[in-house]
Amino acid sequence: PGGTTKTRRPDNTAFKQQRLPAWQPFLTAGTVLPTFFIIGLIFIPIGIGIFVTSNNIREIEIDYTGIEPSSPCNKCLSPVETPCICTINFTLEKSFEGNVFMYYGLSNFYQNHRRYVKSRDDSQLNGDRSALLNPSKECEPYRRNEDKPIAPCGAIANSMFNDTLELFLVANESDPTLMLIPLKRRGIAWWTDKNVKFRNPPGTESLKERFKDTTHPVNWLKPVYELDPEDEDNNGFINEDFIVWMRTAALPTFRKLYRLIERKNDLHPTLPAGRYYLNITYNYPVHSFDGRKRMILSTVSWMGGKNPFLGIAYITIGSISFLLGVVLLVINHKYRNSSNTADITI
């Protein structure tokens, strides 16, 4: 080895010699104990808060599938006349304050099935003209019908929920007149869905003109531009009921927002306690696959609807954490006394 040959010694930098300045923590009982106690102390109040909030939320569920023969909607399972209208009466024990939300719920309906979820054309729903007349292959077999493209195409659109629900309040027992509760149909879909993701095909002519050369989905009774003839801003693809339905649910039992019942300006509760009539135009058949239909009325807080699980989970985890902290404290104390004497004899 000559002196002129380049030395192959690695550089003596901190990086290459693994001497970078570093923090070297390790989990001992001393560092972890306070964390357990802090977690316990934070989680338990949060859990109690959530639980109390959830308990204050009012919710009522009315199943109106009509499976039992005694149910008023049993006649609609095999309808004599279409549309079949049935009425269910129920009672609210306590009044509902603030904004009340009306949902329809379905059970055993697999909106999360893979072939169902992919059966849509987002460019068509975004107003793309070429996609309108030539929907994507994913929509098969709901892509063309009678030699015309279907707008909106796909199985999700095809199975849109089309029951109509109306709510009536029995004002007082003596007076048989029913008071119709005003149901607001705007504001139920995600703002971004309604204003960005779903767009009607562009054009200045009427909506019907813009959708010419297309046909409505196979299971629909009316075409898409007649979903809400009164409100131009809620017609066509940007119909909010349609948009709500197109957001596929995660699990086979789900609910979707149907209508809003806005709070009254005066001090009267939105839905006072009493007897109510639910008028259902029963169009949507679910009994063939053992499904169920429900109507849900619910108030909402900052944390959404009634969800006791979150509160209970927080309280449980907080208490477990606190308990573990205590156990660790005991173990630490016991072992610290015995290991102190051992350490001195280094």
Binding site: Q24, A29, I39, R247, L251, S301
Partner: protein
Amino acid sequence: ELLEILSFDSVRRRMSVIVRAATGEIYLFCKGADSSIFPRVTEGRVDQIRARVERNAVEGLRTLCVAYKSMAPEEYEAACRLLQTAKVALQDREKKLAEAYEQIERDLILLGATAVEDRLQEKAADTIEALQKAGIKVWVLTGDKMETAAATCYACKLFRRNTQLLELTTKRIEEQSLHDVLFELSKTVLRCSGSLTRDNFSGLSADMQDYGLIIDGAALSLIMKPREDGSSSNYRELFLEICRNCSAVLCCRMAPLQKAQIVKLIKFSKEHPITLAIGDGANDVSMILEAHVGIGVIGKEGRQAARNSDYAIPKFKHLKKMLLVHGHFYYIRISELVQYFFYKNVCFIFPQFLYQFFCGFSQQTLYDTAYLTLYNISFTSLPILLYSLMEQHVGIDVLKRDPSLYRDIAKNALLRWRVFTYWTFLGLFDALVFFFGAYFMFENTVVTSGGQMFGNWTFGTLVFTVMVFTVTLKLALDTHYWTWINHFVIWGSLLFYIVFSLLWGGIIWPFLSYQRMYYVFLHMLSSGPAWLGIILLITVSLLPDVLKKVLCRQLWPTATERTQARNQCLSVEQPTVFMLSQTSSGLSF
């Protein structure tokens, strides 16, 4: 003038040169090991020189004997012809050459003996002592004489003062049969050890007897020779049993192939230990190639060993840092890499599997395809990569100072089935927490203050977010050496995930055929219960592992953990001692 060279080979252990002096005389000079020169010597003060050679060997010097003879011209011619025919022979060249050498090198006159003090490399004794403390069995395989080798072993502290030496040499086998010798030796070692495994201590305790075994090449070939009655395997087993109970083994007079043979014997013995061979000469090459890890010392004897090795080091003392520091680090790093990779993928896939029970077994994915693709590539790859390059669970100087920490990772401790099962169950537990936590919190419930519902992509994104944060924070909890790079990749990966999600769902991407992720991430973040749920699920997932770590450290600390604790204590106590001594001397600062 140099006429011929009869080159050295390790079988006949000598070499010769034929030279013509200025006067025209032809001489043959031969040098080699004493056992190969003495039989060929006819004149000279043989006994005196033999005694001298013995004495030199006992002192640890390497001895050679030198002899010569003068050759008549005809003799030289004959020798030349013999060599020529042998060199150009097409078949059995080695054999013909050996015969030729045999013919030429005879009737020599002994000149004398040389002795070379082959000094031990610096810190060789220190290194061997450290290796033994680390629980590594050290064997010395050498071609030297027994006396030289034994002296060297005493010098490098392989044999200590109270080590009882057991000999399995040719001398003893001539006196008794191999069978008897082996039985006697095994009785001696097994008497003391009983049920104790010798791995548990480094032989420093005073009451246990330390054994060292000396065996030479001839005895080894006797043991290894296959016999008709099938008893050779018993001899091998017996031999290995003896070796297992000795703290050090010295094999002398080893031919290079025998060195490889012994390494092979150990490799396939009952416990299948991992073997490392280190050598610096060409005669070590076969042993280096045979062992699991072969290390060549780049030395004065050329680079043959270094060229054939897995690792080449300049000095023997570097072996200590290489094994105890770098080897230890690499093992910790790679075991964590392997376990963590399986763990994070279990966390990734198991929720998808669970979801199938709720989507009609239709193979609907829980997460968006972008997340599926980028999970292992972008979101969770860099932290573990940098961990496996940079992690140091204890400091370098601590490892160098305390070789017994190496025992914590002996016998592949961190990649055993038990550890792997723990990691897998942790992954399964975490996956169950992610999925069912999200399920119970968001099933059929409204979680936004506007009353709107989440869809399936929001549900999946929630599970995915909890998962990415949990696996990254799990790695953060496992990291014991936080350089700026670790901070950068760990927090950077999380930040990248958030930024990516915001961008991915931020606009309607024109090239995408689906827009299902549009605004999903932001909508999820706008829900209070989603935040609370994420925090809760992350905490629940990490809690068992933290608990297990703390309990194990408290109740069953490994040597490494005890050292870490002690270092903490010491660094706290030292200032106190310092101050006391200052005040007692009355100096003021």
